[in-house]
Every structure is written in C-alpha cells, then in structure tokens.
Symmetry: C3
C-alpha cells in the first residue's frame, strides 16, 4: 500500500520522479487518468488551494472528490485510543477511517499542528493513526509536521521559473505574523529543497528554529542530492544573495512566549526592496494564504518578482502526479 504523507515516502529519487511526472502532465494533460476513481478528502482545518487543486485534479482526470469537514458537515472525530467517549466527539477514527476506506479509492487528510508541544507535533500522531487505519492510499494535505504537496509544488515552480534547483540559491526567510503558525510549510520546503540538491539558506530570528528531527532528515537528503543548508539570523544577507526568497511565518520554540517573541520581529516583513537588495533581483514565493503588509508587503506581492500565483497553480500538477503514482502505480517503484 503506497501512501504520501511525508517527503520520506518519496526520498531523493522519488521527489525527482514526481516532479518529472508533474512536468509531463502539465505539458500533456491526460483526461482519463483517474476515470471512475473517488478521493475522499477529510478537512480538520479549512482550505482553499489544497481543496480546489485536489478536486480539480480528480475531476479533470475523470474522477471525483468528496469533501468532508468533521464537526461541520459530519461527526466530530475522536482520535485518542482507549478513551471512554462521553464527550463531544461521537465517532472515533478507528471506525471513520476504515469505513471511508471502503467507499473511496484514496483518502486525503488535513490536520494542523496543536502548537502546544513541538515534539508531539513533530511525531504527527493523528496522521500516523489515520495512516495505520487506512486500507487505501492516504495523502497528507498538511499535517503538524509537513505539508509535502506544498514542498513539491514549490520545487516545480523553481524548476520552471528560475532554473535547475541544484544551481539556484534559495533563501527561506521567517516572516512576521499575528499568531504562531505551524512548522509544516517551512519543514516541507526544507526537506524538498534538500532532496532536490538546493543551496538553501534559512533565515530566522533567534528562538525560531525548525525542529531538529526535520533538520537531521534534511541533512541526510543533502548527502545523496549534493545540496547545502545554511542558517542565519540575518534576513538581509540571506535575501541579498538569493535567486528565490521564500517567505513564511512560523511559531517560536518557546510557544508559551509566542506573543512577545512575534511582536519583536515585525521588521522581518518581506518587501520589494528586500527582494531587490542584491546584485540580481530575487523572485518571491509564498505558499498562501498570505497576510499582506504583515508577512509580505503589497509592493512585493504585486511586483513581477512574485511567483505566488504560479506556485499555487503548480499545486494542481504536482498533486495530479502524486495521485497518478498512488492510484495508477508505475514501473519504477
């Protein structure tokens, strides 16, 4: 049973193979790729791009997607094992996931980080629980630890609009926000870039480190891919030297002090001036949704340097390639 919940499901070669397939599907759409197949999508958190890009990928391939929002249009779901279920969650994952596995050809799940215990978020308990219970292919549409579809769409965008990833200098810069956000997107950018052999600099204020287990995994990928990962707390130098500036906010290590820590770094706003501060202008990426003039300024987002719309569009092609790999198999794996 194939699943795609973490970049480790693909590894260095797998990431490259999915990106190649996405490029193929972008240039030559295949109408019947998912004919008669049904993807059940389970959203514990809201979504725009993820939902619509998956749904259109299934529909344009001749298949269908069913969108479920537990607690809104279906029952709230319990996930703790062994609990006496006398609270507000009338159904357990142990029933819901096997049942959905009987109706659908694949499942996709979105569930954000708890943002209370970083180590628990890194362990991704809910997603692994679902994965253990699913008897059909499972896709993560973002979990506490990673947003792997986003990471791959980011790499496809760089490959298409900037150039070979291994020859591109990437800067992932922390950005300000009104509240602490999950680490899933920066983790996935890091892991995907490492798997693609990128030269990546990660800039963040002190105290906003990514999770060490993810850093270790990324280092392992660079051994095979030839990539490089550097860290700095100097946003200016990181961006001045970059071909691509990837802006993203995330929460601090000390989540209990998040409000004060976030308030100290509102000057990390990513602006057009920052993009143009080096010897050549850097292109702007962001996973969206973006809080304008909090994370990234209007002048950067509305400039020709912005790739954010192309990046969102590429979610569609990458996910079509992933669905193809999961539902149709291939000869290489």
């Amino acid at each position: 049973m194939r699943h795609f919940t973490h970049i480790s499901d693909l590894g260095v070669e797998g990431v490259s193979r999915i990106l190649d397939r996405a490029v193929e599907l972008k240039s030559e759409p295949r109408a019947g790729l998912f004919a008669g197949r049904i993807l059940a999508m389970l959203f514990f958190n809201p979504s725009l791009r993820t939902r619509v890009s998956f749904e259109t990928a299934m529909l344009r391939g001749g298949g269908h997607a069913i969108v479920l929002s537990p607690g809104q249009d279906s029952w709230k779901l319990e996930d703790r094992p062994g609990v006496k279920m006398d609270g507000d969650r009338p159904e357990h994952l142990r029933e819901a996931i096997p049942v959905l596995s009987r109706y659908a050809d694949a499942l996709a799940v979105r569930s954000f980080a708890g943002l209370v215990d970083r180590d628990a978020d890194e362990r991704d308990g809910l997603l692994w629980h679902v994965r253990d219970l699913s008897t059909v292919a499972l896709i993560s549409m973002e979990s506490a630890r990673e947003h792997p579809c986003q990471g791959l769409a980011d790499m496809l965008t760089i490959r298409e609009h900037v150039g070979a990833i291994s020859k591109t200098k990437l800067a992932l810069t922390w950005a300000p926000h009104i509240k602490p956000l999950p680490l899933a997107v920066p983790h996935s950018f890091l892991l995907s870039a490492a798997a693609c052999g990128a030269d990546l600099t990660i800039a963040h204020p002190p105290g906003f480190d990514l999770h060490p287990a993810v850093l270790r995994e990324a280092e392992e990928y660079t051994v095979r891919s030839g990539g490089m990962i550097r860290f700095t707390d100097n946003q200016s130098t990181a961006c001045a030297d970059a071909d691509v500036v990837y802006a993203k906010s995330w929460g601090p290590v000390q989540l209990e002090h998040a409000p004060q820590l976030l308030a100290q770094h509102s000057d990390w706003l990513v602006t057009r001036a920052l993009l143009e501060s080096g010897s050549r202008p850097a292109q702007l990426m962001h996973c969206l949704p973006v809080r304008r003039n909090v994370e990234v300024s209007d002048d950067a987002l509305d400039s020709p340097l912005s790739l954010v719309i192309e990046e969102a569009h590429n979610r569609y092609f990458v996910q079509a390639a992933i669905l193809d790999w999961l539902l149709n198999g291939d000869d290489d794996d």
Copy 2:
C-alpha cells in the same frame, strides 16, 4: 411515483427483492447505472456514512449527488403549515421541495426525531410533508421513525456474514449513552428483521420500549415472513443465545426523565465477554457512529467478532439497489 421512506414502501417481498439486487450489484458492479442522474441530498442533521455511501453510489453509477445542509450552506427551512414566517426560517418546504424536484432526479432527506413527543416522532410529519411535496422519488436517509436504508444494510450483512436470516438468532440490545437517542435505527432493524423472517429477541431495560405502532407493523410482517419477535429486560440471556448481537442505544418512553433513566443502566455496555457468553460466540453489529466504552467496549469493537465495518460498507450496495429500483424501475413492481 415510487418513494423509499419507510420499510412499508417495500413490504416483505420488496425487502427481499432489494437485498437480492444488492447482492447482484456487489458481485457485478454496473458502471452506467445512474448515468446523468442527479440525487439532491438534504441534511437537516449531520452524516458521514449515509452521505458518502449515497454519493459514491451515484458517482460510481455515472451520476452525481448534491449535498445541501439547510441552515448551514442554504436557507433554514420552515415546515409548519399556515404560519406567518417572521422568524429565523426564511424559506418554506412548500417552495424548497418542489424547486429541488425540478432540478434533481431524486431527493434524499435526513431529519432526526424531535425527542419531545414520541407519538409525533412516530407520525414522521416532516418526512411525510416532504414526500407530499416532492415530484420526484424521495429517499429517507433517516427520519424520526425509521432509518430504512440502515435496516436493509443490516440484513444484507447478516445474510453475507452469518447465514440465512430466517435461520439466525438475532439479539437487538439496548446500549448505554450520554443522551437519549432517536428510535429510528432500532425500529428499522426490527422492521427489516421481521420482514426477513428472523428470530429476534429485543432486550432493553424497563421503560425503554419501542413504539407500539412500529411493533404492530413488525408483527404483521412476521405473519407473512414466518419470523418471531420476543422481548426481555435481561441482556445476558438474550445475547448468550444469539448468533448476532446488534447494539444500539435509544431514549426512554418518559423522555422528560431521560438523564436519570440513562444513568441507571450504564452496565448494559456491550463487551466481548457478553458476545462470548453463550455456547457459540455472537457477531457484533452497530450502525455507527459508536461511542466506544460507553455503548460498546473497545475489546468487542476491535475483536474479529465485529461486523461494523462490513455493515457500513453494505450501506453502499443496498442504497445502489434502492436507487436502481427508484430511478430505473423494474419488472416486478
């Protein structure tokens, strides 16, 4: 105009015919069965299995389902006749149902019991109101009185996994809960089992009787089907003698005393020990969602005796057979 809102729409012969058709469709799926047809599903209450099993049945047959949740993604609906509509419900069933009948090929409605007046719940006023107004086939996805699709899926599961229903000893046992639940599922299990000629024992604490009008209807079916219905307030003896234990909670006759009455019987929890207390182990059924360790224990649900996932899966096949009967007709009726 055919409808399927109550077991009485099928009667003893009709129940058997639908089950036969479900078995056929399970062994030989028919891709174009609902080609170009649209089912509009109206949920006054949330759903997981019912929604997804109907939606996938339509999709895999080449048709489509549209899911509406009045008060959430569409207008709250008034159902009282003659009322001056100056409250929070801007649209009346008298418009909504005829209009939906114009757009869709069939309607499906879910509306739970009010749980204030048992006789009013038994009369199923809202559902009959919708049925009167619909100009296309109407399906009940559970109403105050019955959940007829569930009852049929239960019988299919017994037929497949236990044996000929007429030679099987069934125990429907009341189970504890944190609040009074509707009678629709036990009513439908009773009516479907009676129509199939089952030997059924219903065990519940004193004061938790099913509705007399439904009992009378079930007795009528047994005359034609050769079935048998017994009642007891002794869960142990009922289950010890059974091939199948069907666990389900429902509210007491005196709904105003529900909290106290429910609290007295938490020892009716269905456990693996109960399933294995007789000369042969009984298989476990439940319509789901199930509150683990309140209604049924983990050790029962996680044991090989549990049929609950198969039972949910069979919702799909039974509903495909019902949709086939409603939308495509047949020669027997």
Copy 3:
C-alpha cells in the same frame, strides 16, 4: 474575456439572445455542452436555488461545479486594497481570485449588499474587484446592485407562461418584510423588463425608491426596446391592471429608519384577492425564498396563479444559456 455580472454585459440585444438560447436548451437539452469544464462558485452568502441550478446545469452538461463558502469551508477573504491584514481575514481577494482562475474554467460569485450605504451598494465594489482580478469568465450569482440571472429567468417565465413580454403588463410591487432586503432583485427585474420592452409599473410606498442610477440605465434600455416604466405608491391600482404581479421586498432609502418604515407597510402583503382584483387575474411571481404570510399570503402562493416554481426552474435554463455563451462563445458577439 466575457463576463456576466450585470445586465449591461448583454444590453437589449444580448438579453434577447440569451432568452432565445434558453428556450432552445429547454426544448433540446445538450448533454455535452460543458464537457470537462469546471465552474468554481464562491458564496459569501447562502443559497439554495442559485447553487443547485448552476451545479445541475454544469453536471447535466458534462461539467462540474465546486462550491466554496469563504469563512465556512475556506478562509475568510479580505477585499480592501492596501490594508495591513492583521484581523480575522487571512487571505486577500488579490490572491484567492487569480488562484481560483487557474484551477477553474469560470468563476461565479455571490455577495449581498452591505445595506449601510446605498450608493456604495450601487457601485458594487466587491464584484468589480473580483471581475478585475479574474482571468476567466465571471458570473454574478447576485451582488449588491443586481441579480442578473434572476432577471433573465423572470423574463423567460413571462415569455413562456404569459406571452410576449412587449405585450404584457407587468407590476413590480414592493412587499413587507421583517428586515430591509437588498435592491438586487428589483433592480434586475426592472433592467431585464426594460431590455425586453415591457410595460412595467413599479409600486412601492414613499421612501422605498430604487436607485436612480439603475432607473436611468433602465430608461436607456426602453429607448431601444420600446418599453415603458411607470411608478406609483398605489399597490391596488398597479396590480389590478397587470398580467403579472412580481412581489418583492426591499429596503428603504433611509436605511437607518428601516424598522419603523417597514412596520408602517405590512398591509402591502400580496394576496390572492389582490391578484384577482382586476378585470383578469394576474399571475404571481417571486424570486424565492418567500416569507409566507409576511410578503405573500398562502392563498396566493398555493393558487394556480402562482408561477414561482416555474420561475425557479427557469433559473436552470437561463444559466445554462449564460454558461454556454461564456464558455462556448457564439458567432454573434
């Protein structure tokens, strides 16, 4: 790039052409009209008819519709330009609309009037903002100023069930309500009727005038269409002389005094007696949802004079014609 957000996108000839096409599609359904096309529908306000009629039009034409409700199943959307997005709306239209334009073949948006500033509502800022940002065909499913699909469905209904619009006397009468409603529906009825050359009388209490800019636009259409528009504050005489009475509530010019102004005119309830007060009975129309016995009495809605269900049904055919014009083009335009 064609859009359909206002009657002015069609003009006098265009309205006639869409109605002709709707008649064609009603008599000869075309199964593959939207094969493989996807319409993304964005609801800032709830809907029943609009959603289901668009969705079924796409599905029956072989296409698909994706329904999004920002703030419910996707992110709340900011629309103000240049704002620092530190509030409760994490995504801006400037990203959401271009992204959806990449995934879908057409967009449809519903957004009601603010009902604070009539001039701002008439300017329809949000809708024009979306229109500017969309890179695919945009359809209004009702905005602050107009509900143009409704206006066209109204004209189709008159043409089919009453007779040639240019030879029909129409009365648009204000009706009572529990709260001030937007002007979009009366505006669209006025503009559509004017484009079709109708003889239209608009009856409303003093202080409930439609917006002057819309009246001017309607007058311009009558020059080409040969239509006539009259105003009165006498409901009885307007309706006694009409072939069709179109009942609809809307808010007063002085929105800050809406509660008192509305309370003064509850006797504008449209009744069967009013419909039958002239030399020949008038037929009843209403866009739905209708508050029974507040806006229109039961005896009128339940009488054979009512066209409200036919009118709702015609939403489907008009919208199929509009989608055909937008997605498939034609030779005349």
